[in-house]
C-alpha cells in the first residue's frame, strides 16, 4: 500500500455572506496516495476549486481535518505547488525570473546562486521553454504562459502538484499538447497530482482516479471512479479503447444524469 500524502477527513467549508451562511462543501473524505493523479470534476460552482484551495492551504476548512504527510495543513507550503487557471505570472518579470522567484524561495538557504539558476533553467527546459527565458509573459502565447506556470510549480520540487483547471483557457490543440507533456513530466518525476477540471476526456486521460463532486451548495464527493488504463497512455489509441469509453460514460452519467436532475 502506497503512502498517503494527503488526508482529508470530514472536511466542510462554509462562507458567511450577506445573504447568510453559504455551505460550499460538507463531509468530504479523501485520501490521496503518493504518485497518483486525481481529477476533481463536477458542475461549475460545485466547490472543486474550493477543495483544491483547501489542500493548497489558501483557505482553511471550517470543520474537519486536513493533513499533508501527517501534519495539519496550516497554510500554503512549498511541498504543495499550485498551477493557477490564469497562469498568474508576474507581468514585470521575465519567464526566467518568474520561475527563479519560486526556486529562490525554496532552495536559497541551502544552495548557491549558480545552482539556483541551473534549477530554473532545468525547470524551463522540462516544459520546453528554455529558449523563451528572457521573454516577458505578454510576449508569449497562452499555452507558453501556462507552461511557465507549470515550470514554476515543478521547480519547487513539490510533493504534490495542485492544478486548478490549468488548461481551461487554452484552445483544443494546445491543450492536447500540454496534456501529453504533463503526462510525460508526471511519469518522469513520479509526482502526485490533483487537478480540477470540467473536461471529461481530460479527467479520464490524465488521472488514476476521478473524484466526482455533487452539485453545490453543500457539495460533497458523489462517486470515485478508478481509471484502470495502463500508462503511458496514448490519446489516439485510447479513442478506440472500450474501457476509456466506459470511464467517460460513467462520468457523463454522473454529471448529466444524476447531478443535472438534482439541479433541475
Amino acid at each position: 500500500m502506497a503512502k498517503k500524502i494527503v488526508q482529508i477527513e470530514n472536511v466542510g467549508q462554509y462562507f458567511d455572506t450577506k445573504n447568510g451562511r453559504f455551505v460550499a462543501l460538507r463531509d468530504v473524505n479523501l485520501d490521496i496516495v503518493e504518485g497518483e493523479s486525481i481529477a476533481l470534476i463536477g458542475h461549475s460552482g460545485c466547490g472543486k476549486s474550493t477543495l483544491l484551495n483547501l489542500i493548497a492551504g489558501l483557505t482553511h476548512p471550517t470543520s474537519g481535518v486536513m493533513l499533508c504527510e501527517g501534519r495539519e495543513i496550516a497554510g500554503p507550503g512549498p511541498e504543495r505547488a499550485v498551477v493557477f487557471q490564469n497562469h498568474s505570472l508576474l507581468p514585470w518579470l521575465t519567464c526566467f525570473e518568474n520561475v527563479y522567484l519560486a526556486v529562490e524561495r525554496v532552495f536559497a538557504a541551502k544552495e548557491g546562486k549558480a545552482r539556483l539558476k541551473e534549477r530554473t533553467r532545468a525547470a524551463l527546459e522540462l516544459v520546453g521553454l528554455a529558449h523563451a527565458e528572457t521573454k516577458f509573459p505578454h510576449e508569449i502565447s497562452g499555452g507558453m504562459k501556462q507552461r511557465v506556470g507549470i515550470a514554476r510549480a515543478l521547480s519547487m520540487q513539490p510533493r504534490i502538484l495542485l492544478m486548478d483547471e490549468p488548461f481551461g483557457a487554452l484552445d483544443a490543440l494546445t491543450r492536447a499538447n500540454l496534456q501529453d507533456e504533463l503526462m510525460k513530466i508526471l511519469a518522469a518525476t513520479k509526482a502526485t497530482m490533483v487537478m480540477v477540471t470540467h473536461d471529461v476526456d481530460e479527467a479520464v486521460l490524465l488521472s488514476d482516479r476521478v473524484v466526482m463532486l455533487t452539485n453545490g451548495p453543500a457539495a460533497t464527493i458523489g462517486e470515485i471512479l478508478e481509471v484502470d488504463i495502463a500508462r503511458p497512455r496514448d490519446r489516439l489509441a485510447l479513442a478506440h479503447d472500450p474501457h476509456f469509453g466506459d470511464c467517460r460514460a460513467a462520468i457523463m452519467e454522473f454529471l448529466y444524469h444524476k447531478q443535472l436532475k438534482r439541479a433541475a
Binding site: 489558501l58 512549498p78 504543495r80 498568474s88 508576474l90 507581468p91 514585470w92 522567484l101
Partner: protein, 319 residues
C-alpha cells in the same frame, strides 16, 4: 480516423474562406478615406481598386499628410489664440498686444540670469527658485506620502482611521495652510515649502493606497503559495504592481505643487516666479505678467511630460 481527417480539412477550408472574407474587409476602411478625399462622389467599389493600386507610389505623400495632420491643428489653435489676443488689444486698453509682449520677452530672455539686489533678479533665477521650493516640498511629500499610501493600502484599520481626516483636509485651499506654516516656521521660505508639501501629499497618498488595494488577488495568491517573505512580496509584487498608480499620484502632485507655488510666493515674497508676477504687477509691467503666465505654463508642461516619460519607462504595461 477518417472522421478526424475530414473535420480537419473542413476546418482548414473554413479558415481559408475566413481569410478570404477578412482580407477585402480589412482593405476597405484603410483605402476608403483616401478615395473620399481624392474623388468625392465616385461610387466606392469602383474607386477602391484604383486607390489600392496607387498606394505604393503615394507613400511619401501619405507620410507628409500624416505629419501635417499631427502638426497643423495645434499650430492653428495657437494662431487662433494669438489672433484673438491681437484683436482684443487693437483698441488699446491695459492688456499689451502680442507684438509688444514679444518685444518685452526678447529683452527679458536676452539676460535671464542677472542679479541686482535681492528683489531684482532675472526671470531664470525666479523660475529656478520656484522649482527649488517645489522640489523640496514635493520631495518631502513624496517621502512621507508614498510610504503612508502603502501603509494605508495594506492595513484596512489604518485606512479606516485616516480616511475621514484625509477627506476633510484634502479639499482645503493651499493658501489656508500658509498662516499655519508662517506661525510654525516663523519665516516665509519654509512656510511656502510647507504649503507645497501639504497640498501635494494627498494625491500621492490616495493613489498609492488605491494601487495597493487593487493589486490583483492572483498575484497575492502567488506570493502566498510561494511563501514569499514580506520583503520579496514588497519588491517583486507590491511595488511593481502599484508603480503605475504611484506615478499617476506623483504626476497629479507635481501639477498641484506647481499650481500652488505661484499663489504661495505671491504672499511670501522673496525670489520666485509667483513673487515676480506680483512684483511686475506693482511695477505695472503687464506684458511681463503675460510672459510669466506662458513661462509657468511651459514649465508645468515640461514637468508633466518628464514624469510621463518616467512613468512610461517604468510601467510594465507598456514595456
Amino acid at each position: 480516423m477518417t472522421a478526424g481527417v475530414i473535420t480537419d480539412r473542413s476546418m482548414a477550408g473554413a479558415d481559408a474562406a475566413g481569410a478570404k472574407i477578412a482580407n477585402p474587409r480589412g482593405e476597405v476602411p484603410s483605402t476608403a478615406p483616401q478615395a473620399m478625399e481624392t474623388a468625392q462622389p465616385a461610387p466606392a467599389p469602383a474607386s477602391t481598386p484604383a486607390a489600392a493600386s496607387a498606394k505604393p507610389a503615394g507613400r511619401s505623400g501619405e507620410w507628409l499628410r500624416a505629419i501635417g495632420r499631427a502638426v497643423i491643428p495645434p499650430i492653428a489653435g495657437m494662431a487662433l489664440l494669438i489672433g484673438l489676443w491681437h484683436l482684443a488689444t487693437l483698441n488699446g486698453g491695459g492688456i499689451p498686444s502680442p507684438g509688444k509682449t514679444w518685444d518685452a520677452a526678447v529683452v527679458l530672455f536676452s539676460d535671464p540670469f542677472y542679479r541686482e539686489g535681492p528683489n531684482d533678479q532675472g526671470i531664470g533665477w525666479n523660475v529656478l527658485a520656484s522649482l527649488e521650493r517645489v522640489a523640496i516640498g514635493f520631495g518631502i511629500a513624496a517621502a512621507v506620502g508614498i510610504p503612508a499610501g502603502f501603509m494605508l493600502g495594506r492595513f484596512a484599520v489604518l485606512s479606516q482611521m485616516l480616511n475621514p481626516i484625509i477627506s476633510l483636509l484634502r479639499p482645503v485651499s493651499p493658501l489656508a495652510w500658509l498662516p499655519i506654516g508662517l506661525l510654525v516656521f516663523q519665516r516665509a521660505d519654509p512656510a511656502a515649502t510647507w504649503t507645497i508639501f501639504i497640498c501635494s501629499i494627498w494625491p500621492m497618498i490616495m493613489n498609492t493606497a488605491q494601487g495597493v488595494t487593487r493589486v490583483p488577488q492572483d498575484y497575492l495568491n502567488v506570493a502566498r503559495v510561494l511563501n514569499l517573505s514580506e520583503w520579496k512580496i514588497f519588491t517583486r509584487i507590491l511595488f511593481p504592481a502599484v508603480l503605475p498608480y504611484m506615478l499617476t499620484g506623483i504626476r497629479l502632485s507635481i501639477g498641484t505643487a506647481w499650481l500652488v507655488i505661484v499663489a504661495a510666493e505671491m504672499l511670501t515674497g522673496g525670489v520666485g516666479i509667483g513673487f515676480w508676477v506680483w512684483d511686475e504687477w506693482n511695477n505695472l509691467k503687464v506684458e511681463h505678467i503675460i510672459i510669466a503666465i506662458f513661462v509657468i505654463g511651459i514649465v508645468g508642461l515640461i514637468l508633466e511630460q518628464m514624469l510621463m516619460l518616467i512613468a512610461r519607462r517604468f510601467s510594465y504595461e507598456t514595456r
